[in-house]
Symmetry: C3
Subunit: 265 residues, 3 copies
């Protein structure tokens, strides 16, 4: 299983053509930046979390993204309801278990969510994937304390249990699925200093899986685009402030030429 | 009814001098960016949604902006209470029916809000205005699927029913009121790729209507300023990321010279 | 009591080395920008407000920041619970009484919070500190209507009552404590035009107090870093949009050389 410059650009062009509606139930910190990232790549984001409307919104969406970054009980109920609807409609469900391992509330909620409605893609940093799998807690707040390769066994266990794709992000991204592991080596060291770029990676998995039913490829394409846009953004960045701005510009500008130049095959 | 470079700059200068307090009950996605837009043009924004304080906050504000972008039941209750207070004080109420037509929850809430306390200005994209008027749902998430001119009849019906100004934004903005229609043709094609610029347009209606009781003129001035700042911002933008940053700078810099140069009379 | 270029850089380097976890229960408007500011200076931010997890999160944090900018009852309950845990663990509690004086709800909540668990540092603008102390309301929304020096007596009263540090920000920042007053004169006139920079100042107090138990020094260092980064940011800013971006970059770049060049001793 592999991805190429051509397979990446093909998906990007499909997103730009179809503008898939991505329904996000996500955290307060990143709502603005993930909506902007989705718009920049060509998707159509909507944020909706109210119990009375999540089913209807998931009912018109091309993908459902659930991110537990700033949980509360009312939102959890809406997450379950939206996921159930997405499952019925067989649209992809993408889960971001932010901060799993930092508190029992997050760990329990994330596990119950994936058990209730099997996700298509789980994306987290190494510590989160390890904690989600039930191993010793290593998460400090929401930042990773583990290298991504340390989480591969945990990812494999999740893949087996939930028949899903697990995307571990870090210096190297590992997209683990039933058919093997895809590695993506793009990215820039300054990216973890921008809040919510992990959440953006998850949201982009929503856009790519909405238009590509090979969810391992979709996730790998999303990670490649994240890394390439991050590298493009870092070229003229003076710090994480300008990196964040340039990153959105890069998603918008992203062309076949950029992908061919930056993609580390 | 018409607006001119002179009438626009006059209102901008009054906002800068008076710094009207604009009370926003708005969505999570845009709180930061609309607060920054209001500060940049010279107004004083406050975001407050708690039931125990919305009346008191609306009681000291110069305008109330209600935006249903990320609704929930507790917030709806606060919206009604704040609107009632604003109505009693006869300060302008501006409604942004984000995503009306996408879910029944939004459609019902928006209609009940405008029926309970008549708004001074309703601002939405074409699909939202059509859906708010009760016609066939055409909204896909929160992005418009209709051209703004298709919504003029719906806008007229709302104007008649609620004795308000309806502002339809799109490639051309139509400010529809009892005295006619004002067209504003400023703006840039990249603006819809920045999340929440529609919400910012609504928030600016709050600032302008707080200092100009001719609400059709106030709304038209706000739309002209949006479009002009958008065009100024686009000149050095490499994508929606830098457009968003430049847009705030442009609101801050906006001078009579800029308005005379850019305004399409 | 005084701070120097050397004492400032020493704390900045400790933050960068230790990456203290700062637990924020803060307002929706600034979550993204304060998380980015904490990451840029080298701290590790986490935002968590759910009643079932705030104790556990405060239990692993190096500091707790409570900001009442967009209050609601459910969040208030979590604020008390987190503060109690922070008090037990003797980690610093930093309070930002946003908009105190604008509504009774904010005034009452802020007072009850500081009475329940004594804060280490209170940071507010002049009007907020005066209102928190129980004097005549002068707050218009969330913007200050008083000069910072007018609030010194109120700050002294709060220091005496709660045995805490009070940080009044404005053109000049006054850090008032039991051992005297430290003045910080860095900063730029455009900073109040960026929403939430006051909240960022409070969040930075969290990062500095997590690694420096002299809370008056920690608060003064945080204010000096705010002001210096603001001046650095303003050099190439065309308005508040680019100021906000440059400010994050400046926090990231901040070196001993910058501090020596900009710090107004």
């Amino acid at each position: 299983m592999t991805i190429t410059s051509s397979s990446i650009i093909k998906d990007v062009e499909t997103i730009r053509k179809n503008a898939p509606l991505v329904h996000n139930i996500t955290n307060y910190v990143v709502m603005n930046t993930t909506a902007n990232a989705l718009l920049a790549i060509g998707a159509s984001p909507v944020m909706a979390h109210a119990l009375p409307e999540v089913e209807e919104m998931a009912g018109i969406a091309g993908a459902l993204v659930i991110n537990i970054g700033t949980l509360s009980d009312a939102w959890i109920e809406a997450m379950f309801k939206a996921a159930k609807k997405a499952e019925q409609r067989q649209i992809p469900i993408i889960i971001d278990p932010v901060g799993v391992g930092a508190t029992q509330y997050r760990t329990r909620t994330a596990r119950e969510l994936i058990q209730a409605s099997a996700p298509s893609i789980i994306r987290g940093n190494g510590s989160e994937i390890i904690a989600l799998c039930g191993q010793e807690q290593k998460t400090k707040g929401v930042d990773s304390t583990s290298e991504s390769d340390q989480a591969i066994d945990s990812a494999k266990a999740l893949v087996n249990e939930f028949d899903c794709v697990v995307c571990i992000t870090g210096k190297i991204d590992y997209i683990v699925s039933g058919t093997g592991i895809i590695q993506v080596e793009n990215g820039h060291a300054m990216m973890p200093r921008v809040t919510g770029l992990g959440c953006t990676a998850t949201a982009l998995c929503g856009a790519f899986s909405a238009i590509n039913q090979n969810y391992d490829m979709a996730a790998a394409h999303a990670m490649a685009v994240m890394g390439i846009a991050g590298e493009m953004a870092a070229q003229n960045a003076k710090g994480p402030g300008s990196l964040q701005v340039n990153f959105i510009d890069a998603l918008y500008q992203l062309s076949e030429t950029h992908i061919k130049e930056y993609f580390k095959a």
